[in-house]
């Protein structure tokens, strides 16, 4: 039975850390401390996650019956739209970068803060303003275009608050761009002495690659949404086929951003995964350079595959074949990572604590989602399953089974560092298992539904599909429990959790060399790095003397 090694904290005189050195509200709302901004983001995205989750709950409840028993069609359409908008732009994209990246990127490279602290705070405020616009649109009546806003429905036909949501997303996009700029510049210029590029933790490589995609892709979303807004308000005719405009132009522009966006969403999860696997097998990654470069390869290739979302939209078959081949290629770096993570366990010292449960679940579920992605890249199969529940299952396997599990794993892993407290391990493990079971029960039936032919965004459906829909909704109820539990026990740990010292996991990495929680300026002295990362074989023997078993 594994136990959390308990490193006794120093006697309880009040040590000043980033949390307790100033309790005034203004010191939080005007902070330049990247750690406090990370906490602000964590609170905001958690709230948005549950708003999006309520929409998902209503969707799955509605789908218990083939008829409209709970919601009118208009309301149902608004539910899946707001679920997508919130989850993509207000939860998944900011989750790991703006919470864990903000908190740990500077510490991991041995810096005192990000390069542009005030820009970081501005990023949070822009996120909040964007969220306010989006929630206002929801309160005023919602949007019913789907999160993809396809024209001409969104530009000429829908009579919902499209422009308001588009403005909200537009503003949130600038939040993303600012964070990404900050991370890129910080990684280049603020590494401590001895921290060469190949001594960086893989988390930093992953966040860096994500930031590259963010700064290149998000401006395109901004222009696409601006054109959509202009078209909707003033009918300039660019997407309107009745005056000769081209609705598919919108799709090209939208997916040119949105495909890299899905890599913005998953790369940080992969970044966390590298940290979790190495720490909980106490081993260096199997192929550090391969994992690092595959992040960059994914970032570059992600820009070349957008039209695989449009295979049935009327492209020429040569274009279809080109994008199909490129989409196959982009799967290769992800496969390399999965194999490398699995091989990292080899000859390691594997401990199945809560973060590791999330990490191992990630490998399995991400692999399943990724392989169905290869099926979708296969043209003839995509013709059949495009715009069905197969697609929904595919991206939920990656986003929820992959990314959300990685985010939760990261939160659990770094929770003691961020808060100085340890959560209850038993509840942690239980929640991870509930989430894994609930997730599979929710989304695996959706693969079957999709192949059967149930289209997505369907409120009514043929009665023969009801069996799988009920199964999926049952799974969703379990998944919901799994998500609520961490909220409870993590919050409780703030009051009742055991206090921990600097390195409760015996992990490598600069963040574990400073106190838990870290002081306001991260380090008493700027560290100097002298060896490669993940050198467990070097560092573990030194930690032997400091611990006692419980």
């Amino acid at each position: 039975m594994t136990t959390v090694p308990y490193i006794p904290a120093p006697p309880r005189e009040k040590t000043l850390d980033y949390l307790n050195h100033d309790y005034r509200l203004s010191s939080w709302l005007l902070t330049r401390d990247h750690k406090r901004i990370a906490i602000l983001f964590m609170i905001s995205i958690t709230i948005m996650f549950f708003v999006g989750g309520i929409a998902a709950t209503l969707i799955r409840l509605s789908l218990l019956s083939p008829d409209s028993w709970l919601l009118r069609s208009e309301t149902y359409n608004k539910m899946f739209t707001i679920h997508g908008v919130i989850m993509v732009w207000f939860f998944l994209i900011p989750s790991v970068p703006n919470v864990l990246g903000n908190f740990f990127l500077p510490i991991m490279i041995g810096a005192r803060d990000l390069a542009f602290p005030r820009l970081n705070l501005a990023s949070w405020y822009l996120y909040m303003i964007g969220a306010v616009f989006t929630l206002m649109a929801l309160i005023l009546g919602g949007v019913d275009t789907g999160w993809t806003f396809y024209t001409p429905y969104s530009s000429s036909f829908s009579n919902t608050h499209v422009v308001m949501v588009v403005v909200g997303v537009f503003i949130a996009g600038f939040s993303t761009i600012m964070t990404a700029m900050n991370f890129i510049v910080t990684t280049h210029t603020m590494r401590c002495p001895g921290m060469t590029w190949f001594r960086l933790p893989l988390f930093v490589w992953g966040i860096y690659a994500t930031s590259l995609i963010q700064i290149l892709a998000t401006p395109i979303l901004a222009i696409t949404l601006a054109l959509l807004g202009v078209e909707r308000i003033w009918r300039i005719g660019i997407f309107d086929p009745s005056v000769g405009g081209d609705p598919v132009l919108f799709q090209h522009m939208f997916w040119f951003y949105s495909h890299p966006a899905v890599y913005i969403m998953i790369l940080p999860g992969m970044a966390v995964e590298s940290e979790l696997i190495t720490c909980f097998s106490r081993k260096h990654p199997f192929g550090y350079v391969f994992i690092a470069f595959s992040s960059l390869a994914i970032a570059m290739l992600s820009f070349l595959v957008w039209a695989h979302h449009m295979f049935v939209a009327g492209m020429s078959i040569y274009a279809g074949m080109t994008f199909s081949l490129l989409s196959m290629m982009v799967a290769v770096p992800s496969a390399i990572k999965v194999f490398n993570w699995t091989a990292t366990l080899y000859k390691g010292s594997v401990s199945l604590q809560t973060p590791m449960l999330y990490a191992l679940g990630f490998i399995g579920l991400f692999t399943m989602g990724g392989l169905t992605g290869v099926m979708l890249a296969t043209l003839a199969i995509d013709v059949h399953v495009h715009d069905t529940y197969f697609i929904i299952a595919h991206f939920h396997y990656i986003m929820v089974g992959g990314m959300v599990m990685a985010y939760l794993g990261g939160i659990h892993y770094w929770w003691p560092k961020m808060t100085g407290r340890m959560y209850n391990e038993w509840w942690g493990k239980l929640s991870a298992i509930i989430i894994f079971i609930g997730f599979n029960l929710t989304f695996f039936p959706q693969y079957i539904l999709g192949y059967l032919g149930m289209p997505r965004r369907y409120h009514y459906y043929p009665p023969e599909f009801q069996f799988w829909n009920v199964l999926s909704s049952a799974g969703a109820s379990i998944l919901a429990v799994g998500y609520v539990l961490p909220l409870v026990y993590l919050l409780l740990s703030l009051r009742y959790g055991k206090r921990v010292g600097p390195n409760p996991w015996r992990a490598t990495g600069l963040e574990w060399k400073t106190s838990s929680p870290p002081p306001e300026h991260n380090f008493e002295e700027i560290p100097v790095v002298t060896h490669e990362p993940y050198a467990y074989y070097l560092e573990l023997p030194e930690m032997k003397e400091e611990t006692q078993d419980e």
Binding site: P117, I184, V185, H188, T189, P219, A222, I223, G237, D246
Partner: protein, 225 residues
């Protein structure tokens, strides 16, 4: 060694600060390239689809105002480059003068742009506000002598206003930035050792200029003879 007041606390030394700030500005300009690039691509796609109508739209723009504005903007870039040179040499008064001249040329650009918009309004070329299919000077003529504007010329004008307004917004922000730099320079904040903000501000200004250098041919020069 004591830290200068303009050295921010997250940096170890001035060298790190200047390098970081410059890299930050380049990263920001990269996002701007993608931002303008997206609208240029949308414009190019529509131009390829409606070549005749867009050529017509180009022909109806005020080429001479556009040309003057190009010269104005290039000159303003010259003067901000001179300002950077003055800053490197530590000549405070020349720095301020060069920055002020840059500002003047920037404001001239905006002035000419506003005048140009008013001319376009007079010719009923503004979509949404006062677009007219029949040119105003042909309104009274019998239909056989009228040359109605093609429908997609309206789309061209929408692109024209969107792109130039986007550019003008960036100009206004640039003028704000240069004004702040001018004020701080006048107060003696920048020396030969510390003048990185001037360089970064100049980078931004040059970028806005380069966007115009692409806008001008794309909008004004591809016209019927």
């Amino acid at each position: 060694m004591s830290r200068p007041t303009y050295l921010q606390e997250q940096f170890e030394d001035m060298h790190q600060q200047t390098f970081t700030a410059t890299l930050g500005m380049w990263a920001f300009l990269t996002t701007e390239v993608l931002f303008f690039g997206a609208i240029f691509v949308a414009y190019a796609v529509c131009r390829l689809r409606w070549q005749e109508e867009f050529r017509h739209g180009s022909a109806d723009l005020q080429l001479w105002i556009g040309a003057i504005n190009t010269a104005v903007l290039l000159t303003s870039s010259l003067f901000i480059a001179l300002a950077v040179r003055s800053a490197k040499a530590g000549h405070r008064s020349m720095l301020v003068v060069n920055l002020i001249i840059t500002l003047i040329f920037g404001l001239m650009f905006l002035g000419f742009k506003g005048y140009e918009y008013s001319v376009e309004s007079d010719e009923s070329l503004v979509p949404i506000l006062n677009w007219s299919t029949i040119p105003p000077d042909e309104v009274g003529l019998p239909p056989s002598q009228q040359h109605p504007r093609p429908e997609q010329q309206k789309l061209f004008m929408s692109f024209y206003f969107f792109m130039t307004a986007l550019h003008a917004t960036h100009m206004i922000v640039g003028i704000g930035v240069i004004s702040v730099l001018t004020t701080l320079s006048w107060r003696g904040r920048y020396t030969a050792e510390h003048h990185n903000p001037i360089e970064i501000g100049a980078l931004y200004w040059h970028f806005v200029d380069i966007v115009w250098v692409f806008l001008f041919p794309a909008l004004y020069l591809l016209r019927t003879g």
